[in-house]
């Protein structure tokens, strides 16, 4: 059991590391957002599942188990909303990538509306 928990948490650390490297290396703001989603999905999920197993089978503490599960559900529900809101707000505020994007349908349609 201890081995399984270690594997889960190390898996989570690996994906969080990949997301962090992506956030530092990616060329423009929107690609950095994609890497931050990487942190917020698998970087969280491994710790949550491992923590549930640890709290339930080692600590025998029901309250902690339920709180960790609630934290996981909370992250999964709220993160896409915040990410979408920041992406749209940044685009409307005028953040554009330095390198030209391959195709930009949203920008074309925004220009047409005005």
């Amino acid at each position: 059991m201890r081995f399984i928990i270690d594997i889960l948490v190390a898996f989570s650390v690996f994906f969080a590391f990949a997301g962090m490297v992506g956030m530092i290396r990616m060329p423009d703001a929107f690609c950095r957002m994609q890497s931050s989603t990487n942190i917020a999905t698998f970087g969280v999920l491994g710790v949550i599942v491992g923590g549930i197993l640890y709290a339930a089978f080692y600590l025998h503490d029901g309250g902690m188990t339920i709180k960790i599960a609630l934290l996981g559900i909370f992250y999964i529900i709220t993160n896409p909303i915040a990410s979408h809101a920041i992406a749209r707000g940044a685009y409307k505020h005028g953040v554009r990538p330095e390198k030209k994007m391959v195709v930009d349908k949203y920008g074309e349609d925004l220009v047409e509306e005005e």
Binding site: G22, M26, F42, I81, V103, K105, Y106
Partner: protein, 180 residues
């Protein structure tokens, strides 16, 4: 002021009360047979107040839509279908970030969707945003057809229908099955 629907208030209040039970740890006390009456009464009062004031923001049509077979579909979606997509996309983006020459090819594509209800559209948009590699920027409705603007880290095709197939995969069919 809009008329307050009883079902909206009731369902929001029930959800708040379940959350209260979980976060105060009372649900374990109930299973052990000695719940604290004061905490339960405070929870009922607070969740009734929250439901009364904010129920009309959350529920627009049918309040108890999810009960029944749709709930089974929702569980199946959350624990079996969606994690597969999540796994594929996560490995893809992680390898992209860690590889040496950083192969990104970003762009924003416009994708049509067949979903009708608000909840279905919201759930598909959330699923797309939660998958690494794609972010939903906006949802518009033009001449009765719903379009999604999606930022995609590796644009392989610009054709709307083909891009929709590649991004949405099986998610759209499941979302429709749950919410329509």
């Amino acid at each position: 002021m809009k008329k307050i629907k009883i079902s909206a208030v009731l369902s929001t209040a029930i959800l708040c009360f379940i959350f209260w039970l979980l976060i105060t740890g009372q649900i374990i006390s109930i299973f052990r047979g000695r719940p604290s009456t004061q905490v339960l009464i405070a929870g009922v009062l607070v969740s009734a107040a929250v439901g009364f004031f904010s129920g009309r923001f959350f529920i627009h049509k049918k309040a108890f839509h999810l009960l029944g077979a749709r709930f089974i579909y929702l569980l199946q979606y959350c624990f079996y279908i969606f994690p597969q997509e999540l796994w594929k996309a996560n490995v893809d983006v992680a390898l992209r970030a860690l590889s040496k020459d950083l192969p990104v090819n970003p762009g924003i594509v416009k994708v049509p969707s067949n979903l009708r209800t608000d909840y279905g559209q919201a759930m598909l948009a959330d699923s797309i945003t939660l998958t690494p590699g794609t972010i939903t920027m906006d949802i518009v409705e033009e001449e009765g057809q719903v379009y999604y603007y999606i930022h995609w880290i590796n644009v392989e095709t610009e054709d709307p229908v083909e891009a929709g197939e590649m991004i949405k995969g099986t998610l759209e069919a499941w979302s429709g099955r749950i919410w329509e």
